[in-house]
Symmetry: C2
Subunit: 158 residues, 2 copies
Amino acid sequence: MLKKDEELLVALRKIIRAIGMRSRQLSKEVGLTGPQLMILQKVGKQAGVMVREIAEDINLSSATVTNILDRMEARNLVERIRSTEDKRKVGVFLTKDGEQSLSTAPLPLQEHFTNRFKAMEEWEQSQMVATLQRIALMMDAQHVDASPILEVGNIIEK
Amino acid sequence: MLKKDEELLVALRKIIRAIGMRSRQLSKEVGLTGPQLMILQKVGKQAGVMVREIAEDINLSSATVTNILDRMEARNLVERIRSTEDKRKVGVFLTKDGEQSLSTAPLPLQEHFTNRFKAMEEWEQSQMVATLQRIALMMDAQHVDASPILEVGNIIEK
DNA sequence: TCCTAATATTTAGTATACTAATTATTATAT
DNA sequence: ATATAATAATTAGTATACTAAATATTAGGA
């Protein structure tokens, strides 16, 4: 018999795996993985968005976003234009192909999950989201409660 | 303002990221990543366990387990011995070093998370686990309810 | 001015993690 | 008995995803 915290870990692993599988399914069906689609959506909503902004928005490191953008740029879905006023910054824009892909792309999470989620009562949805947010907060090393002392690394990182 | 299903995805991403960061922290501190530690624990509990059994237990593909075992074997934490009665099967065993590592290893999830989780009321823990299990089930393509027709790929896969 | 710190992105290197295909073995059915 | 199917593990190839270090630029202070 597993302990509760072990059951929790197992459930999380299943969720993580399901998200990964959805990503590969997307890749086969529309040629975009989950993270690529999320980046495409972000750029679609905010043309010229910075790499760092994308990274913060979807909770990835800048290095990862750079990596994914490399692939997307090679496939002509987005283009990077370095800012002229602050040459450190790089703006990301959709190409025609990118706009086309975005307009026909499905949701990052499986449709059947999203449908079921939307079919739930409002309070139930809220409760589910709240539980996940609570877990995320409990796991967040930056917000260990009753701990006024933060390491330098923590402050820099986030 | 984000929609509820988008909030849910963001929260999941944060959790996934926190688990990954814990894994890298473990790697620096004790030289074992999260998945490596989980495999070590499984082998510790069940000497000679098959690769497939490990994969099913912690929700990974066999290929991934093989990959991780390669690294662990190279570092002399485990050894693989092919079964003599069924030569397709490979049993995994702890080495002395592996036993040593396991005996001093910390938990796969951050201690401060586990502590906080254990400090919660019993019913609250159960509710949290149940919510995660429900999400996992909702995401599981194998268990789309009201759908008696399963694709061949699904049956074979799991 | 000029040095240092901060910011933004990229590169290098490593570890997951998957699917599809391959190899080897064992089980089954004709 | 032998061809076929199923099972087990591995290999090949690709995509995340991270940290640390490198590069370039901008901002601030002495």
